[in-house]
């Protein structure tokens, strides 16, 4: 299925509601917290003179839309695709909803704009690789690591991150990927321990932090505080499982090297 494809082209309620559900599912899939999804979609519906009520779950969302003029209504149950987190889609689609609300776009224009925004290129993998390696290395510095541990963490993150990208693009299960990549990164970083350098424990600890699922963690908290407790819990549990996988990978390395880690 092509992203953002809308097959029905006429301007009736059903196709508008289908577009809205597609829009909402796209936002949910790219890691937007639920109150923003609901606000954006309602605003979008408002622009198309519809009243919209949404109920989100972790894997699907339900959308009720009723036309203001005719009073017709329609229910749609939509599956949420599991997309990579994208703040750019978050920003652009939020902006699109305001543009629709401020009355500048017709329905066809809106669909066209949406399709273009969704198809925008993602950040190049090599850029992500380099930037996240620098990030992890400076993270190491923040914890008090020396220059040498920073270098080790840099290289460990590069190896771990590139294997993460490769494995995820191959469609391997995300939990397995996280456990494996945390194991790879920490075992590469463990070479600092082998050479008995100072701050080698910091190098080990920071080498896996590029995997921390920050977006679901904070989104989960925000959802819970805004009253979407169940969805918030689901997101937190999801994030927690990923953290657990990181811990499993890290402890795998520690088991191998346990003798040198004795304090």
């Amino acid at each position: 299925m092509a992203k953002g494809e809308i097959s029905i082209n006429n301007n009736n309620l059903k196709s508008r509601a289908a577009f809205l559900s597609e829009y909402a599912a796209m936002l949910m899939g790219s890691g937007v917290h639920s109150s923003r999804v609901i606000r954006n979609t309602k605003r979008m519906g408002e622009a198309m003179s519809m009243e919209v009520i949404i109920s989100n779950f972790h894997k699907s969302l339900m959308l009720y839309a009723s036309d203001r003029s005719s009073g017709e209504s329609v229910n749609i149950l939509k599956e949420i695709p599991s997309l990579p987190i994208s703040f750019e889609i978050n920003t652009n689609l939020s902006r699109l909803s305001w543009e629709a609300y401020d009355g500048k776009l017709s329905f066809d224009e809106l669909k066209e704009r949406y399709r273009k925004l969704v198809a925008r290129p993602k950040l190049h993998p090599v850029v992500i690789l380099i930037l996240s390696s620098f990030a992890n290395a400076s993270f190491c510095a923040l914890f008090g690591g020396t220059w040498y541990s920073m270098g080790i963490v840099f290289s460990a993150t590069m190896i771990g991150m590139s294997s993460k990208q490769k494995l995820l693009s191959k469609g391997v299960n995300v939990f397995i990927v996280f456990a494996l990549c945390s194991f790879i990164a920490s075992i590469v970083a463990s070479t600092a321990v082998i050479f008995k350098l100072q701050t080698s424990d910091i190098a080990m600890a920071t080498s896996v932090l590029y995997l921390i699922p920050g977006v679901p963690l904070i989104n989960g908290f925000m959802d819970m505080m805004e009253g979407h407790v169940i969805l918030g819990m689901a997101r937190l549990i999801d994030a927690f499982l990923l953290v657990l996988c990181i811990a499993i990978g890290l402890s795998g390395t520690m088991m191998l090297l346990r003798n040198s880690l004795l304090l």
Partner: protein, 241 residues
């Protein structure tokens, strides 16, 4: 430190004949790859790389370096490299396609394994207790050379592992004052730059988010920083600062 050189001398004394053989095979295969490449030679070269990595893992680390602490992690590292080569051999995507752009650098890299023992001799060491052309660091440089000349569709993971080995080489300079490894680190920085650039160029990404120019600039900056840090550490380890 003492264990380090003792294991090396043991390794050299018992395997120097096989080392000569390996060097000869490598020379013949590399020469053929340049002059008259054929599918058979390419397969043979790939197979040779698998064996070479396994040689380092099993013979060098498991058999001769088992006195060193944590030798098994290094052995695992080399087994992983061998597995990646094996994967490429089976998958058949990497075909030793020559890219012609960086030939001169790779000729230079081929020379490095033979410079290693010369440096050792220059430092006043004698035969068994010195570096030889078939050791982990020289194998890394040789692999870099091969990948440099035939850089189409290379495996990024392999390159990054080689880079990490260079980083470990730095720690050896730092701890054991093994100045031979400076060669390795000097070779790695431009190599990693060229590889990743090749990797970006080879990608099917038509319009990437920051333009290609921005990515290349970022890459250049990164390699610059790595280079500066490497030089700093090397200079510092010889107490020049």
């Amino acid at each position: 430190m003492e264990i380090f050189w003792k294991t090396i001398s043991n390794y050299n004394v018992s395997t120097w004949k096989i080392q000569v053989l390996i060097v000869l095979i490598a020379a013949v295969l590399t020469f053929r790859l340049y002059r008259r490449p054929s599918p058979f030679i390419k397969k043979a070269m790939m197979f040779f790389m698998v064996l070479l990595n396994l040689w380092v893992a099993v013979v060098y680390y498991f058999v001769y370096c088992s006195e060193r602490p944590y030798y098994y992690i290094f052995a695992a590292f080399w087994i992983v490299m061998a597995l990646i080569w094996c994967y490429e051999l089976i998958r058949g995507r990497y075909k030793f396609e020559r890219s012609y752009k960086y030939d001169k650098i790779s000729y230079l890299l081929y020379a490095v394994p033979f410079i290693y023992p010369l440096v050792s001799l220059g430092r006043g060491m004698h035969f068994p207790m010195m570096t030889s052309p078939v050791m982990p660091c020289t194998v890394v440089v040789f692999s870099l050379g091969v990948l440099m000349s035939f850089s189409k569709k290379i495996n990024l993971f392999l390159v990054l592992l080689l880079f990490h080995w260079a980083l470990l080489g730095i720690s050896k300079i730092y701890l054991y004052r093994i100045s031979e490894d400076i060669l390795l680190t000097i070779c790695t920085v431009p190599a990693i730059f060229l590889y990743i650039r090749e990797y970006i160029d080879s990608g099917v990404v038509v319009d990437s988010k920051p333009g290609v120019k921005a990515i290349n600039l970022l890459l250049l900056g990164t390699c610059g920083i790595i280079g500066v840090v490497f030089t700093y550490i090397i200079l510092k380890s010889f107490n020049i600062f």
